[in-house]
Amino acid sequence: MVKNISNLGDAAVYCDFGSEVNEAINASVIDYFHHISKLIKDKKIEGITNLTPSYNKLIISFDLTITNYKKIKNFIEGLTINRDIKNKNQKIKIPVCCDDEYGLDFLRLTEKLIIDKDKILELYFSKEYFCYMTGFIAGMPFLGDLNENIRCDRLETPRLKMPKGSVGITEQFANIYTFESPGGWNIIGNTPKKIFDDKNLDQPALVNPGDKVSFYQITKEDYLNWNE
């Protein structure tokens, strides 16, 4: 449930669902996101230009020429979120090559975590992850939660260019760099799979909030011969 609603500037509403990060709170954010998305599609509410769900917040942007903060706030407060409309969350499997030329930060990770590479991989690949949100760059999924023994801070100095496809970890989260981009996550491998497809107009992002993701390891040969 939304705990507090406030304004983010003059053209956005900030819905706060709490300060913790967990699946229950995030599921509530995603329920609101799907519910409002449908109302926008069905033209039951006008002026909303964007919805941005994250771990425990939902930001609703609107066009100030059409509506205003008070109207959107009243609209949100009047919503009854029907939990029966379950969106069809997917289970997705993503291949990762963890050879040292792709896993850029194993040296740092083994030093910081004081466990060896094989153990990191074992702990990483043995879990199924939940997608809390996508964003920052197009289609980048924010997944969690990592095993407690492989949680590590961001790089002290972020890389200016993370290679496209890089699979990263930081704190309790995992992600995938869908484009070459600056970034500060610890890189353990690279996926040849297309995570963002701008030709797929209906659903460009492979992973969407609420989806479950598991990773599996592939060889360099598989990586280089990957064909979709």
């Binding site: 941005t52 920052f136 992002a205």
Partner: protein
């Protein structure tokens, strides 16, 4: 008949196609994009009698050098721009902004530079012949979305033009007055209370310098270090245009049209919508001050801003 097009003889610093922007994609990580200066974008279309959301060429600092092929067009440039028209016979005319011109085959437009601003807009009557992606023609160079494979234009690229009417055009001019006062008005951000009293005093009273780190994603400022007394990181959450984030180094960053859709730095404030156009136009080296307004004031200022824009749009000369 072959279609008219601009042949690009010089790409310029950052030449793209922009319109009002691309909505309903923040949740997958795609920014709104769109013209940084929405008012000047709109005015450029008005000058050539287009629909106001017709895509136009946006350029920054040094603009492109364009040669017209296969046709005759009516165009106008808005902004604070130094440009010349080089006719086929090599006669050179000084260009005037907010005024429509006829361009003949083999004539060139040389957009030499912006003056006290960063962005300018070139609109052509009838519009450009481009493909829409997710409801918008805007080029997002970050995610390579939009025309020209989502990349900025460079040498030898072509921009095709739909049929341009040059017969029934009334030459139009708008008397646009651009008078920035270097005060950016903001509404308190959702993490305003993360900053010390001293930081807040400094934020509203001291000068901030626009650094060289400015692009369509954002604008890094430098000023007195803004002391954070709670946490220099928050759990990543959504951003919107105009959000002012303050990372651990204490220097504010203003989010512009191509910003990352989520961010993990505390938000000290949000630039009001009415000030986004001129804030985005500020050039490196400029000093600005922040001023707080209430939500209600911001809404009234936006009404006045819209009326102003409409007055310009209704001007016929």
């Amino acid at each position: 008949m072959n279609k008219a097009y601009f042949e690009i003889l010089r790409g310029g610093v950052n030449t793209t196609i922009q319109d009002k922007g691309r909505n309903h994609l923040y949740h997958v990580g795609i920014a709104v994009s769109g013209a940084i200066d929405q008012r000047n974008f709109t005015l450029s279309n008005r000058l050539v009698e287009n629909q106001l959301n017709e895509p136009v060429v946006e350029f920054a600092y040094q603009g492109p050098l364009l040669k017209l092929k296969n046709g005759k067009i009516n165009f106008a440039i808005s902004g604070d721009i130094f440009f010349k028209i080089i006719r086929k016979n090599l006669e050179v005319e000084d260009g005037e902004c907010y005024k429509s011109y006829i361009l003949d085959e083999e004539d060139q437009i040389d957009i030499i530079s912006t003056k006290n601003s960063t962005y300018g807009y070139l609109a052509v009557n009838g519009g450009f012949d481009l493909k829409k992606t997710w409801g918008s023609y805007s080029i997002n160079t970050k995610a390579n979305i939009g025309p020209n494979d989502g990349k900025k234009y460079s040498l030898n690229d072509k921009i095709f033009i739909k049929k341009s009417d040059t017969k029934n055009i009334i030459k139009r001019k708008i008397n646009y007055i651009y008078s920035p006062d270097n005060i950016i008005r903001i509404i308190k951000g959702t993490n305003f209370h993360y900053f010390s009293k001293d930081a807040i005093d400094k934020f509203f009273n001291e000068d901030f310098l626009i650094t060289n780190l400015v692009d369509r994603m954002g604008m890094r400022l430098k000023g007195p270090k803004l002391e954070n007394i709670v946490s220099t990181n928050i759990k990543s959450e959504g951003l919107v245009r105009g959000v002012i984030q303050v990372p651990a180094d204490g220097n504010p960053i203003i989010m512009l049209s191509d910003h990352g859709t989520v961010g993990g730095y505390p938000k000290i404030g949000v630039v009001i919508t009415a000030d986004l156009d001129f804030a985005g136009q500020l050039t490196p080296g400029t000093k600005i001050k922040f001023k707080e307004v209430s939500l209600e004031e911001a809404q009234n200022i936006f009404k006045a801003y819209t009326e102003d824009t409409n007055n310009y749009l209704n001007e016929y000369n």
